[in-house]
């Protein structure tokens, strides 16, 4: 009884902070999304589902949401493809190389996303490094630009988010008994079979948590799609931004934000269930 009250008192500051900075704005955003807006009056304080009806009936919005989903899935897939082997190789490295390489992996996180993305812009632009290289090698005879393309956004986002996947898989591999690889080897398995049948299944908890982080961050990413994608290639986050700050249609922007949030939660929970059921034994350790 007394312990229960103590727990309440001790957690109260954190609870209040959480309510203040997460719950309250979230509830206010949801309320806002049901309001209406006109260019003459501004926000009209009513509770109607007009904004949602507009989003669901207009192909323009569907295209943007689908693009966001496509980019996030591709970025997550790319991070798994590159991040899992990278983490495995890091695990197998010897000190001091291992510590140094981990620093190299985490290093990019120390640089602002905006600065890094502007760097990619220098590479992707029509007169950028990539285009010049392809021209000089002779692989193309016209300048190539990845600016304002989904490919460009996917590449830049993968670069930004890869460390999260690597660290997450790295942690999962740390919980793996190194001897299980040796056991597989002694039973006659080659390196590739060991990776596919012994290491990968045991790395799945890390792949799962890493892909949740990467997926949510790329679905809600703003700076990278804003710089590489620009106005031409909108995603849900830049759409909400434009509705709020350019069109000044706050209720519509709020509805976009709420839909993005709900979609991310549904996808993440579904993915989580799927992977946990498939690899139940690894997760229940």
């Amino acid at each position: 009884m007394k312990a229960g009250r103590e727990a309440f008192v001790l957690t109260a500051p954190a609870v209040l902070l959480f309510l203040g900075i997460v719950a309250v704005p979230l509830v206010m955003t949801v309320m806002l999304s049901f309001n209406e807006w006109s260019s003459t009056v501004g926000i009209i304080s009513v509770m109607k589902i007009g904004n949602y009806r507009e989003i669901f009936s207009d192909v323009y919005f569907a295209e943007i949401f689908l693009r966001t989903l496509r980019i996030s899935v591709l970025v997550t897939a790319a991070c798994i493809v590159f991040g899992v082997p990278e983490a495995y190789i890091l695990r197998r490295m010897r000190e001091p190389w291992r510590s140094m390489m981990i620093l190299v992996v985490i290093g990019p996180l120390l640089v602002s996303v905006v600065a890094r993305t502007l760097g990619w812009a220098l590479i992707f632009a029509g007169n950028g490094l990539l285009s010049q290289f392809l021209l000089s090698v002779g692989l193309t005879d016209a300048p190539v630009s990845l600016m304002f393309t989904e490919t460009g956004v996917v590449i830049a986002l993968t670069h930004v988010l890869l460390p999260f996947m690597v660290l997450s898989v790295w942690a999962a591999l740390g919980r793996m008994d190194q001897a299980s690889e040796k056991a597989a080897q002694s039973l006659g398995a080659g390196q590739f079979t060991i990776f596919r049948r012994i290491v990968l299944p045991q790395a799945m908890p890390g792949v799962l948590s890493g892909s949740i982080v990467v997926f949510t961050l790329s679905a809600s990413a703003f700076a990278t799609p804003a710089i590489i994608g620009g106005r031409r290639l909108k995603v849900a986050a830049t759409l909400a931004y434009d509705e709020f700050l350019n069109t000044l249609n706050w209720p519509l922007g709020a509805a976009v934000a709420v839909l993005l949030l709900v979609a991310i939660i549904l996808i993440v929970v579904g993915w989580n269930r799927l992977v946990e059921r498939r690899y139940a034994e690894v997760f229940s350790q």
């Binding site: 008994d177 001897a179 040796k182 002694s186 039973l187 596919r196 045991q202 350790q285």
Partner: protein
Amino acid sequence: MPGPLWGQAGGPLQREAEAVGLRLHAVCAKTIRRFEGDTLSYLALNGLKKNYGPVCAVEGVDLLVEKGEFVSLLGPSGCGKTTTLQMIAGFVEPTAGDIRLDGVDLIKLPPSHRGLGIVFQSYALFPHMTVAKNLAFGLEMRGVASAEIYRRVAETLDLVGLADKAERYPRQMSGGQQQRVALARALIIKPAVLLLDEPLSNLDAKMREEMQIELRQIQQTLGTTTILVTHDQQEALALSDRIVVMSAARVEQIGTPLDVYEKPTTPFVASFLGKTNVFKAEGKRGCLSLGGYDIAFDSVVEGHFVVSVRPEKLSLAPMSSQGLTGRVAMRVFQGNHWLFHIETPAGPAIVISQNNGYCVPAQNDQICLTMKASDLLLHPTVASAS
């Protein structure tokens, strides 16, 4: 090793290729590198050595193991026994020396092609596979047909007494059961040699004793040549046909359990295996002087010695007897026997005597320790530091 030629998929093609490679490799190795000497012993370690930089982990191990023999590598931690095992398994590359199995040079073969069964200290079971899948893995790698795999998994599980646990996951099993799965997984591939790396050290005392008996029974049933690494002398004594006692990267003694216990050739072996008393002694003509007690001893040269004698080989006698005098410093009752700590002029001694119902000396009693000259082991004093 499967190269990029075999494609990216780990499908049946890849597995088949690996299995064929495995067989081919073994056949080639056998025909090409048949060794002329030592054809009598099954497994031969010859001058096996491992250096880690300037540190010598194993210094020239020579060992011949017969087919079906159970040999233990026994020693304190850091004595090089595990490194020796790892070199046989192929996980550690020797600095010098060679390893031959049935005349085939093992050194150049990767661990996956040596065909040895290994039980790891941590068991190293695959946590994401059922017990049956764990066992099937080695057979799949050898391209065994699935009906045959099914039959052999059932047979091997039966052997280790886990016939009803095939669909369990390792996590759902006790330590002893996991231990059996690890043993079954190593045995199912019919290994040329079974390597056990401290397999029982994670079990509680009672379980360990049970597993010791079972391990010995299984090993004798199958006749699998076995090498056990352990720091537990009782385990080595109970299980082995022969014991290799190691210390500080060297082999101290190789012999049957009875031999190494009764006739240790070095003070280290004497003190490492079982309890032992070490006395300072002086050699005189035809006799040995232990703290004022002269015991007739043939073939003794003059000079200073260290004498070791087992606690159970000393008997307590009244002061009037011929023997080493002493005072009972402590008396401990241990059920089936008594343990005495005795202070003598030659140094402290421990004595174990059977609890056979007779009355025993009390604390502070003056007594006399009698011993037979044949139970004394003489070591030159230079090595007395150990």
